[in-house]
Symmetry: C3
Subunit: 484 residues, 3 copies
Amino acid sequence: MGNCQVCCKNFWCHSKNTNVRISLPAVCFLWQIAMIILFGAFVRYNEESDAHWPDYKKEHNITSDSENDFYFRYASFQDVHVMIFVGFGFLMTFLKRYSFSAVGFNFLIAAFGIQWALLMQGWFHSLDPTDGFIKIGVENIINADFCVASCLIAFGACLGKTSPVQLMVMTLFGVTLFAVEEYIILELLHARDAGGSMTIHTFGGYFGLTISWILYRPNLHQSKRLHGSVYHSDVFAMIGTLFLWMFWPSFNSAIANHGDGQHRAAINTYLALAASVLTSYAISSLSANKGKLDMVHIQNATLAGGVALGTASEFMITPYGSLIVGFCCGILSTFGYLVLSPFMEKHLKIQDTCGIHNLHAMPGLLGGVVGAITAATAIHLTMLKNIFEFVGTKRTPSTQGGYQAAGIAVALAFGIVGGAIVGMILRLPLWGDPADDNCFDDEVYWELPEDEESIPPILEYKNHMDIKNPDACVSESNFSVDQS
Amino acid sequence: MGNCQVCCKNFWCHSKNTNVRISLPAVCFLWQIAMIILFGAFVRYNEESDAHWPDYKKEHNITSDSENDFYFRYASFQDVHVMIFVGFGFLMTFLKRYSFSAVGFNFLIAAFGIQWALLMQGWFHSLDPTDGFIKIGVENIINADFCVASCLIAFGACLGKTSPVQLMVMTLFGVTLFAVEEYIILELLHARDAGGSMTIHTFGGYFGLTISWILYRPNLHQSKRLHGSVYHSDVFAMIGTLFLWMFWPSFNSAIANHGDGQHRAAINTYLALAASVLTSYAISSLSANKGKLDMVHIQNATLAGGVALGTASEFMITPYGSLIVGFCCGILSTFGYLVLSPFMEKHLKIQDTCGIHNLHAMPGLLGGVVGAITAATAIHLTMLKNIFEFVGTKRTPSTQGGYQAAGIAVALAFGIVGGAIVGMILRLPLWGDPADDNCFDDEVYWELPEDEESIPPILEYKNHMDIKNPDACVSESNFSVDQS
Amino acid sequence: MGNCQVCCKNFWCHSKNTNVRISLPAVCFLWQIAMIILFGAFVRYNEESDAHWPDYKKEHNITSDSENDFYFRYASFQDVHVMIFVGFGFLMTFLKRYSFSAVGFNFLIAAFGIQWALLMQGWFHSLDPTDGFIKIGVENIINADFCVASCLIAFGACLGKTSPVQLMVMTLFGVTLFAVEEYIILELLHARDAGGSMTIHTFGGYFGLTISWILYRPNLHQSKRLHGSVYHSDVFAMIGTLFLWMFWPSFNSAIANHGDGQHRAAINTYLALAASVLTSYAISSLSANKGKLDMVHIQNATLAGGVALGTASEFMITPYGSLIVGFCCGILSTFGYLVLSPFMEKHLKIQDTCGIHNLHAMPGLLGGVVGAITAATAIHLTMLKNIFEFVGTKRTPSTQGGYQAAGIAVALAFGIVGGAIVGMILRLPLWGDPADDNCFDDEVYWELPEDEESIPPILEYKNHMDIKNPDACVSESNFSVDQS
């Protein structure tokens, strides 16, 4: 392999154009300006965030400001916000030389996605029929964060192989699809899905996997040198894992019903997550020589319990029911990393960088099924009345279970079909994605500091070195080796 | 020292069997299955997390969902949760090559411990006599996190010298002992200890120190090469320190009385922590050549103010009283690191990796004493009535002070006696603990990425190198040096 | 350059005395003792954190503990607390060899500043006229954190060039000036500034810039080798960025009015921040070869939207108004880093290490202007009544706008004049600041671990090496290169 013809610098460089100097600013500006115009036309404060709130309180005999929805949900919102930006962002820093992109692109697409989600979800859920405005409050911004989560899951499958422009396009379509799918599941089917096992994880997971399948790179092994972690990048990733793990009870309870709904959702999720930690560690240790644990499993499979309780967390699934779900999910997810991911890459041509199939898609499906079963077998009349609000409808538990199951199918269909369409769009040669031998590398889209500490410098740079002149070498690479 | 006879790979390897491939999964599965069965038999939602909450509200004339305990405590719970998993976990990442184990084992034992704590504490505190079930709500999960904290403190003393199986066994017994000790102190002696100076820190500290004393390793110096920090591992540890420091006001106020109790506990802890920062820096600087600060003191002693207010934070200790406690604790704790830890290692044969004696045991004791004095000298009648609920009992402030002091003795006794018993159990040659020359090394229990960035590669690997053949060298160690 | 005459060790060392072994402990002890005495004389709990709260409730017909201000503000307080200690602290870890100082000095001066702020702000805002005591509650500790933020902003301008003793002195004066300035703006001019665009960011920004101008170092280029980031230090800095970004809605809403005020402030800030992310990325990409993003912009300019909504966040600025403010600020701030910072360093002799002019000073000014315009053009009568509490005053919207504008001038004047005075004090040759060739180096004030991983060892240490004796070399520097 000779030196690059374009930049004359890196010997692994290539002719594929990764210049995003026009396209990235153009997309950012265009979409932000569109957001401003659409917000101007459509978005206003709701009665709880508007300055008329004191009058509203009086009219509705609300005696205390503490009845404002803000105080029921804001603490949970901030936890969810941390999951979206630090949780997802840092979870993906595990690659040795892709931490800037992991955190940075996650930041960019989430910041765009939440705006577009407020509009899309607003049109479907929060439109005030009296004046045609979307009225937003704290629940809307939580839902916007949720919506974006589905796109960040999809980002996990494509990590390292896409340009920021592609990710912005993916997010635009992903949020749009999410809002429609969510509307069908929650408003038309009247299924419940407070923590989004179906709407967020199943949809996001299969959306990302299908995109990754369409964007299959047969020669990705050319980037193999960067397709792994280093010691400190794994520790950074644990920041993401832990903030996701700790705040998942807030994720699943953030938009549950006030009172017992939020309370129970938090407790159930807390328990399921604890159980999935133990079984993830068990399977990880069981599968390796000398019982050594694998960071990939610890960083990911431990979270599966939270995903799988996304639908049922607010139901009366009982504490031991939550533990059972977490128990199964930790096993399932770790097996996924051990068996399914290699299988999918080899035989199905799906390159799933973060293993979202094991962390989101499968546990999400399972969560949908758990929700359907819990609903179908509900014997608590109070649960039916208070959670599913059956009063005034003619549903029985088993029909509700059926509608829950239909929700899974909708999420799956939107994920796969939507992913196929968006994948085709992302294959257009416009978006500045990296070449096969240049994936998983921050160098492509970031100005990097001059240290070389995290990549093995000698093996990679060796061809550059003037082995006759050690001093020249030293000035190029601080850790390099020279012989005289 | 020749190459290892077992793995034929690392020259410092040894014959001690650290294979946990059977024992770790077995322990995880067994205990998780036991949890599921016991939860099935004993644990249900309490009236505030059960779907009957709307009916309960009506029966008890509760007008608003905001009266659900969830909204009084959930934000604090999440802060405590962050302290347990990120705070304790990252605080212990300071070792150069033990960050995976620090974060990972902390994660494992905490996730197990909270489940077992819900049961143990439930049997003692939350058993519903009408149906024999433990009824759980948000206060229970906070208490479970608290209980686990005592085991994580003990982990700090043993850091680097124990296998994950040992830690699981230690947690099983530690949680059990904690629940009994806490029952005696809070329910029998009717002492108050909202932030756990006695129940958590004194017990946990002496429990860990006694275990460490029983597990004394005379040849631990053989692992000296790994017994220190590197630049970035110290920065990671500061993540732990800061999250502990920032959220300690939530720790001490999480289960205090609604209203002024939680409010005052947060303010007092905030002030004590601020004061202990200044005196820790002062003593650290005073003790070193040219006044250079030592990261060990900054990472640990700054937290002592929070520990020492664990008992008294909800009392009317006054703002300046809190500052005085923090002032003294910062000094005491830093002196501990400077003087006592080396003394204990040399003369008492206690190897206390994280210096928990200085951060938890001593400040915990002091906190118990501060609590006893504050109670004994209480002159606010309202304080006696509202905090100690003296109405209907015959206690005077000074007898309450006496009972508080008795609580310290109970915590101490449980820590030392319990630690001795558990330490003996952990000495059984079953648990796969590392050899003396293999401590503080993630290599033993983790699959590590192939970089060598964080350990000094030349000094360690030197014997491997073929100094005649530089190319062979290069392929083994990327940063190595070769001469021809 | 020969070896140092003082320590005989580092060849870049120098004769300037950076020994703080007497001065730092002295300052810490003196000021902490002063705090204890002043707190003893002046500070007590307010009626909501005092044990009399149950009686107070009864007297004032408050039916629920949830009316205690603690439950309206404590979750936001904890978010603000994270911003102060982790947000500001980690944002400044970007330098390759100044992470200990960034996090550690931030910790020290914030812990001192919050105590002094409680007193200073207490005398001006919370003095109980009946007994002469400052009565503190949760709002006071939030305000203390806010006050300290202005000093941490100033620290950003001086980062790497000041001793901890200087920073303590700077904080003492900075907090004092802040309290007076805040009193004039909020209590005398009756301007509103819930998130502190004027009081915190404009004041803090110009205060720091003026100090940095007075402390100008013409030979700072001698420390150029350390004036940059390494890969992992940039990832650490992203922890700071993200926690600031995520929790800024809490910052701007923490002390806004209960109910709609806090609710709206959070939503507006959320939106402005999202918009400033997109325009920061756009300008960063547009300005670089091949569209490569620059971490400096991503770490800082993305936050400008939160700064600029500090005043107007609780106003009825509308959601699209917030987006427009964020849009402009992202552009303005990134341009600042590209154009203004180099200009200021070259022509105005202001060395602004963290670029606080672009992140705080300019967006703060803009925020003040946005607030003045929003107030002046307020057409919602309810807004005037509920936010500005116009009932009983004779102000019109336009006069309120004028008073808001006057507030900007006050903040600016205090920043510049105060900064000049404090800067002169800090120039006294007492404080142990580093020499020009020794800036940005943790070595000066910290005991460092022995690894050299983060600095380019070969170029720097080369003179030390005995090139004839490779083994000697190896023992000095693990990554060094030797030839025979």
